[in-house]
Symmetry: C2
Subunit: 336 residues, 2 copies
Amino acid sequence: VTINDIARAAGVSKGSVSFALNGQPGVSAETRERILAIARDLGWRPSTAARALSNSESRAVGFALARSPALLGSEPYFMQIIAGVESVLAPRSIALVFQMVDDVDAEVLAYEQWWAERRVDGVLVNDLRLNDPRVAYLQQLGMPAAIFGLPRARGTLAAVRFDEMVTMREIVGHLAELGHQRIARVAGSRKFKHTALRTRAMRGEMERRGLPEATIVHADFSDEESTAATAKLLAGAAPPTAIIYDSDIMAVAGLRAANDCGRLVPAELSIVAIGNSPFYDLLQPALTATERDVVAFGARGARALLDILAGNPAQTISTPAARLVIRASTAPPHRD
Amino acid sequence: VTINDIARAAGVSKGSVSFALNGQPGVSAETRERILAIARDLGWRPSTAARALSNSESRAVGFALARSPALLGSEPYFMQIIAGVESVLAPRSIALVFQMVDDVDAEVLAYEQWWAERRVDGVLVNDLRLNDPRVAYLQQLGMPAAIFGLPRARGTLAAVRFDEMVTMREIVGHLAELGHQRIARVAGSRKFKHTALRTRAMRGEMERRGLPEATIVHADFSDEESTAATAKLLAGAAPPTAIIYDSDIMAVAGLRAANDCGRLVPAELSIVAIGNSPFYDLLQPALTATERDVVAFGARGARALLDILAGNPAQTISTPAARLVIRASTAPPHRD
DNA sequence: CTGAAAGCGCTTACAG
DNA sequence: CTGAAAGCGCTTACAG
């Protein structure tokens, strides 16, 4: 059933039907009502293809994720951010075109293809990196995008910021108040912007509190590297009394590694995780962690993107800070 | 850049360009080469909208997932199955339209909308339920689909089976060989088809081995219900010496609940988990579990769907059985 | 307020 | 083998 069918049934032209259906002026209220009723009766739905062709609007948004399936699977973050995005798109009947890619280069190719094929009106970009090639590329394409982690909007690119500073201040503050001095961190991969931001925030907060400089070891978010990093930290001359982990897998691996090294958590070592996991509560000890509302985060990104598509200038959006959930893996440091 | 531009540059008609670009007969080899070269130089990409409109093929596949974001996030299953689907779609430039929905009814609405708007050529359907309304609906719509868990293909619906029988036989066999007699299970929600299949398989295998009838408690995949179910099982008159859990969250919650009830795992209680999780290896004790290649599973589903879209009859596909990974949470039962 | 027409970028019979 | 034309289902100036 097409607008032609409706036009015939209503005895008007296709143009009038189109105006009526899209809520545009150019038809009398009476005619509009009649057309809408007929469309409803006939069960008409717009053909996205036809709309896209005359409109050059696809009413679809792209989201490509560049991580190994194993990592994507283990971290709730990705599904949660998608859930947030969906909560904004679905009610507006905007489709989410989703693609998993091997790396950022493949991601850029996906954008190019989507744009050239006019598959999507814009994209959501995740995990901003240092010197991220995607930013320049999207700018050059003039492709609307909302970028999670971008510090400031530019051109057609909206920025959805998260405040790593607050997160780190909370964690360091909590540990410092417990009496910890030697605080280390098993950080995520260096290539991510947020890793660098966290490092800056952590060092700043520790300096502000007069604590000795933190030892920071980088790992790639895998349990193996986190295990190795933890063992190395604990084997040092002046081992830390507290370790912060940048992800859930790394924190759980770290807890296990600490046990394997003969350190009781939290009596001899405190552990704080960054990021959400339904498992934190179930471990022994349950892990103290900073958690954020990732669903809300995704929703803001989607809204920022739709805003650009509606013709407004790209915005810089802040998101609610993570909150520290104190469980059983942090305690005053052991004195010996 | 459109085929018009190419036609002009090549001095031929749009029709010839279309034939050349699509590898159809009707152009000389020489002309075809020239057209392809020009298309390449000009960086031409087909407009999906235009193609869809004349072809009524969208070259997109839909996937709706009906679970709470929390559950979707915690189980690697979903991302893994998507990864498998993508591995088949991406190389063919077929888009994945993804949607999260609240329940099966919302999912059916999503299908109806996609189909009416001609957004997708077919869908992937996950988590078949008992008396699943989606099957009848898709059949009535005549919408091509690959359904994970459907026992047998019908009409335009391909079936991607998994063999719960093998999984259960492996688990029960392992526990029986260790000497367990009283084996219980904290099962997933009753509404899922695979829950019922597992129950049938478990009962069958235990009967075959002459073991007493299993106690099976249903939970909704949440840690709370699994904790309660575990406590209830362990408080009974003749408590089980081994418990099988239908999901990762439930298994981890069960492990903790067992500890809280004063049961040492595996000395006093053996635990087996169904499903993959990167955390199993990191727990203490590490969890014995049956794991399947969910990525391969997703890939088969996608291939089965593309097969239907290519005009072939819907197939019934089997998938590799899960394999039992024996870790540290299973041991011979405690004698007292 | 309404109708007739052109156009979006393709595909596909239909003539030559 | 090639060109001219109609059509897919919409939107949107342009006349009346």
